[in-house]
């Protein structure tokens, strides 16, 4: 479980997160939505301790987010997968295994994402989509109770996207807590138990996808989100 209590983050004059109180419940799949620049990536970075909040406290299970042990509970897939250019994906998996110690055999995941022909090539020679698949393998390589994914399906081809979502659903069935950001509403609809909508540094909605569709009286989540955002921007 992840709990954020009164978390604020300011970059210069720009208040990116404004007194956020937010809980990611154990075993839940929560999708964080919001327009570009709403603070989604900053919130994820705060949980991972890449960004230090100005105020508030973040707890990951029983650890503060500043504690190294908190990150042992989390697997993370970043938005951009440009890692070391001259090193192979295989070597990158080994490094992560050495750093974490709880690594699974990557072969199964390599086959799952059809990366067999690419794992020994330098990462710099791989296409954007293939690098994203490498990043996906990294996210599922460890048996951690929490998985955080930042725009995970961007750049993936349709087959890999379906495979990726199936993997998320498998992890969900195991009772893992999954927190992800996405702009692709069909992905959100398929896997998320809950939505959290972030606008101007505040969470303005948290609930089930059906709730927002009912609230806005729209037939699809995409339309519901657009109507919801319009109404909030007008207000």
């Amino acid at each position: 479980m992840i709990t954020l209590s009164s978390v604020s983050k300011r970059f210069g004059k720009n208040l990116v997160l404004d007194e956020i109180d937010f809980t990611i419940g154990e075993g839940r799949v929560i999708s964080m939505l919001g327009p570009n620049g709403s603070g989604k990536s900053t919130l994820i970075k705060c949980i991972l301790n890449l960004v230090r909040p100005n105020n508030g406290e973040i707890m990951v299970d029983m650890y503060r987010s500043t504690d190294v042990e908190a990150r042992r509970l989390i697997s993370y897939m970043p938005q951009v997968a440009r890692f070391a250019e001259n090193i192979s994906a295989h070597r990158l998996f080994s490094l992560m295994g050495e750093l974490r110690g709880d690594v699974r055999d990557p072969l199964e995941l390599i086959r799952y994402f059809e990366l067999e022909a690419h794992v020994e090539k330098p990462l710099g020679e791989l296409s954007g989509g293939t690098r994203q698949k490498v990043s996906a393998v990294l996210a599922f390589l460890f048996d951690t109770p929490i998985i955080i994914l930042d725009e995970p399906t961007v750049g993936l081809d349709p087959i890999s996207r379906v495979n990726f979502k199936n993997l998320v659903l498998e992890e969900k069935a195991k009772g893992k807590t999954i927190f992800f950001t996405s702009h692709i509403m069909s992905d959100v609809e398929e896997v998320a138990d809950e939505l959290a909508f972030l606008l101007d540094g505040k969470i303005i909605f948290q609930g089930e996808p059906k709730a927002i569709m009912t609230q806005t009286d729209q037939p699809t989540l995409e339309k519901a989100m657009a109507a919801f955002l319009k109404s909030k921007l007008k207000a």
Partner: protein
């Protein structure tokens, strides 16, 4: 410390497989060999190689460290999202870059000297040149890492790191010269020792020149340097100064990294 070792190995391999490390070794080897072969005099060729060591190696160390840091930000994010302390992560990255630079100097200068071995008159001098290059690489790599972590963007980071190199390599000597001219009426030779300790490039230059036995060319200052750096206290003070030049930026970048937002 296991994580430092793992990250070091990864960064070291990443650098080793890139073209720059090989290009650097070849540049040093070819320049060393060409200077020894074409200059005719061993001492004169060593002075030219000394200039490469004290000017080029800090520049390459500064550039390579800053570029690695700013070009691998996604990799750094990924590392920091793992259960690894920031101190260990950045120490591993620093060592990965610095050891590549040091080995490039060792093999570059060593290979050049080895090919021209018949004309090499002093192994002690060769070792002084290599160890000066190694020390300067460790120092300037740590300084560049500190400046890069402290900077908000790539342009400012690399720009300021280059300015520090320019200051140490060129401007500092100009300022020292001005000081000596302005106060030439006073007995300030001892001040030269203190001022040299404050600049690792000058310190390395003095060490190499004392080995070359051409300190007489520096006049009375040369005699003062010989007297100070030739003693146990002098060697201890200069070794201490070089060590501090590595440790201060190293501790600085570790501390700076703790507070930085990524």
């Amino acid at each position: 410390m296991k994580s430092v070792w793992s990250i070091f190995k990864f960064v070291f391999l990443d650098n080793l497989r890139s073209a720059w490390a090989l290009a650097y070794v070849l540049f040093l080897a070819i320049s060393t060999y060409a200077l020894i072969y074409f200059t005719g005099s061993f001492t004169r060729s060593m002075v030219s190689i000394m200039n490469i060591v004290i000017l080029i190696t800090p520049l390459v160390s500064t550039m390579m460290t800053s570029m690695y840091y700013f070009n691998k930000t996604d990799f750094i994010y990924l590392l920091l999202a793992q259960p690894v302390s920031r101190a260990h992560a950045f120490l591993g990255i620093y060592l990965g870059i610095a050891v590549t630079l040091c080995l490039s100097i060792f093999f570059g200068l060593g290979l050049g000297m080895l090919i021209a071995i018949s004309q090499v008159e002093s192994i002690a001098l060769v070792l002084t040149l290599i160890s000066s290059g190694v020390m300067l690489s460790l120092i300037f790599s740590a300084l560049a890492m500190f400046i890069s972590i402290a900077s908000k963007d790539k342009l400012k980071g690399i720009g300021f790191a280059l300015f520090v190199w320019l200051f140490m390599a060129v401007i500092y000597d100009g300022l020292m010269l001005m000081y000596f001219i302005l106060f030439s009426e006073y007995p300030i030779e001892e001040h030269a020792i203190v001022l040299s300790l404050l600049n690792p490039i000058d310190l390395s230059r003095i060490f190499i020149m004392l080995q070359l036995d051409i300190s007489a060319l520096m006049g009375y200052s040369g005699a003062v340097f010989q007297k100070f750096f030739g003693t146990g206290t002098g060697i201890l003070a200069s070794a201490g100064a070089l060590l501090l030049w590595i440790l201060i930026p190293l501790i600085g970048f570790i501390k700076k990294a703790q507070k930085k937002d990524y």
